[in-house]
């Protein structure tokens, strides 16, 4: 049974992939993200963090984009190109990190709530609601001031909001498949509950989760930049895009490129993620299969 399922899963994957490739938007999105990942991976080999990324050269400060500094330089004369490229590492790490973290926690909570229902459901979902009703800013401030400002803590802070998101989705989709025959049959086969959830229920909640993930990563990157705006983002001099953006807003008129370039970087990334997400949504949508 399990084996059969796996094969089925693979073919389904191939089919999805096939359909995904037909979606122009999704393809563009994927291409951009692929590029981004490459940048993130190679940038430490291309740029030296100490000298190129955070090394200051006040003589060169606030230079508009030119042949030497493609993106210009910031108020410390740091090459913006290097910083933006390197920043991809941070922004992706934050996006992926907190979403991943949230995914795990949220999925566990959500599947418990959805699978057992009743008391467990009530308690968990109420809790989720409450967390939800606390503004993200407050969550962030509390966590950051409890654990101190650092990329990791920021990720944790953002992860919480993601977790609530996932918990809801997973719960919903678990509830829909919970009572289907094949689940009951696997009961009959005497599988332990956790195995049933893991192997037979969660795979069927996959598509909403995948879609949500792509979208959430985008949202998280945005939130990170918002937190930088409020001064509780990634501490300087790390070139996280949000930090670059909110740092550059002092120059939004004078040297707008300092602010515009990271802004565009964030925008395109989020855009790409969303396009991919929408593409996946359509590709994974069983109702569209012929």
């Amino acid at each position: 049974m399990a084996a059969k399922k796996r094969i089925k899963g693979r073919t389904m994957f191939q089919e999805t992939w096939h359909r995904l490739l037909k979606n122009k938007g999704a393809v563009i999105g994927m291409a951009f993200l692929a590029l981004l990942v490459v940048v993130a991976v190679i940038s430490p080999f291309v740029f030296d963090y100490e000298t190129d990324v955070i090394g200051q050269n006040l003589a060169m400060k606030l230079q508009a984009p030119n042949s030497e500094h493609w993106f210009g330089t910031d108020e410390y004369g740091r090459d913006l190109f290097a910083r933006v490229m390197y920043g991809a590492r941070y922004s992706l790490a934050i996006g992926v990190g907190s979403v991943g973290f949230g995914l795990i926690v949220g999925t566990i909570l959500g599947s418990i709530a959805g699978f057992y229902g009743g008391k467990a459901d009530d308690i968990i979902m109420r809790g989720i609601d409450i967390f939800y009703s606390i503004p993200n800013i407050l969550k962030a401030v509390v966590i950051v001031s409890l654990l101190g400002t650092s990329t990791i803590n920021l990720i944790i802070a953002l992860a919480i909001s993601c977790a609530t998101n996932y918990a809801r989705i997973v719960r919903a989709s678990v509830m829909t498949v919970r009572d289907l025959e094949y689940v009951e049959s696997s009961y009959a086969m005497g599988l332990p509950t956790w195995k049933i959830i893991l192997r037979h229920i969660l795979p069927n909640c996959l598509s909403p989760i995948i879609v949500q993930t792509t979208l959430l990563i985008g949202t998280t990157i945005i939130s990170a930049s918002s937190l930088s705006f409020l001064g509780i983002g990634v501490p300087a001099p790390a070139p996280e895009w949000g930090a670059l953006l909110s740092g550059g807003r002092a120059h939004i008129r004078g040297a707008s490129y300092i602010c515009v370039i990271p802004g565009l970087a964030i925008m395109f990334t989020v855009l790409a993620l969303n396009l991919l997400g929408d593409g996946l949504r359509d590709a994974l949508d069983p109702k569209l299969k012929k």
């Binding site: 009703s133 606390i134 985008g218 953006l245 989020v270």
Partner: protein
């Protein structure tokens, strides 16, 4: 139906209890001493101690919380540490502004999103679809404050069409509303699109066509109405998010909204203000959700039936 509403409202009570406790707890955990913030620079140790005593901050946390809740029972949410003003009153001074901003933002988002969502759904998997979605995503893809500042530069500084900020007449509402609204557009559009896609596959759409309905009528009368539920959900969700979630826009446009209030109170460790506002916010959210649910019933007889079953 009424019974349903009542039940829903009753279910608020535990939420309030837990929320207030968590906030209170969180605030007491966070680094930073309200007394110091009040005493200001160069205050002597004993001065700070005295303030702590006056505010009852020297008591054990649970006792503080207990006292706070005692007040709550008689509807007294306490006074702000900073302004010495009544928390409840202050919140309701800010609330209208937030509702104006949130409301108009959501409306803008809706007006943009629903037609766009339908359009993209009709032209699924064509370049029109992609173009439409990209447009919808634009606002969401850029950080709020960035968009805000850009708008100010263009429309306030250069074109002089709208004020840069503040709360003076409808004109000052436009830019912040657009900023926030665009941030929301993408989600609503996406939901509209996917939910329309689902609906358009339904047999009753063919039935409608077979009856001789024009394509327009099929889409709007038969399609949209069925697609509406998830859309409304999304809108409601957005509405409740906007309430506390537009700190940035509010800061950039010096718009006196709840988000700012809460944030400033947090930075000043104004515990009663923070706790109070967030409790009120969560009540507000619950009410919004309730309204959303009632709107469901209004659009979908099946849900209405469920409610009446529930009691």
């Amino acid at each position: 139906m009424l019974k349903y509403v009542v039940n829903r409202l009753l279910s608020l009570i535990p939420v309030i209890l837990v929320t207030s406790f968590m906030i209170y707890w969180a605030m007491s955990l966070t680094e930073g001493d309200p007394a110091m913030m009040i005493a200001g620079d160069g205050a002597s140790q004993e001065m700070i101690e005295q303030i702590r005593h006056d505010l009852g901050l020297d008591q054990p946390f649970l006792l503080q919380y207990f006292n706070y809740m005692k007040g709550m029972l008689v509807g007294d949410m306490g006074k702000s540490y900073v302004t010495n003003k009544d928390v409840f009153a202050t919140f309701f001074q800010y609330l209208p502004n937030t509702l104006y901003l949130g409301g108009s933002a959501v409306i803008i988002a809706t007006i943009v999103s629903i037609p766009l969502g339908i359009y993209t759904a009709i032209h699924q998997n064509t370049w029109k679809d992609t173009a439409g979605m990209v447009f919808a995503l634009f606002g969401t893809s850029m950080p709020n404050f960035w968009l805000g500042l850009m708008l100010i530069i263009i429309f306030a500084l250069h074109l002089r069409l709208f004020p840069t900020g503040g709360n003076f007449g409808w004109k000052s509402l436009v830019l912040p509303a657009v900023t926030v609204g665009f941030g929301l557009a993408a989600l609503i559009t996406r939901i509209t699109r996917s939910s329309m896609l689902d609906v358009m596959r339904q047999d009753y759409m063919t039935t409608a066509r077979a009856k001789g309905c024009s394509e327009k009528r099929v889409i709007y009368k038969h399609g949209l109405k069925n697609a509406l539920i998830p859309i409304i959900t999304a809108i409601g969700l957005q509405m409740s998010l906007v309430i506390t979630g537009s700190v940035l826009a509010e800061t950039v446009f010096s718009w006196p909204g709840i988000g700012r209030l809460v944030y400033e109170s947090i930075t000043r460790r104004d515990i009663p203000m923070v706790t109070g506002s967030i409790i009120l916010c969560s009540i507000l959210m619950c009410i919004i959700n309730l309204i959303v649910d009632l709107v469901y019933a209004f659009f979908d007889p099946r849900i209405k039936a469920q409610y009446s079953k529930k009691g």
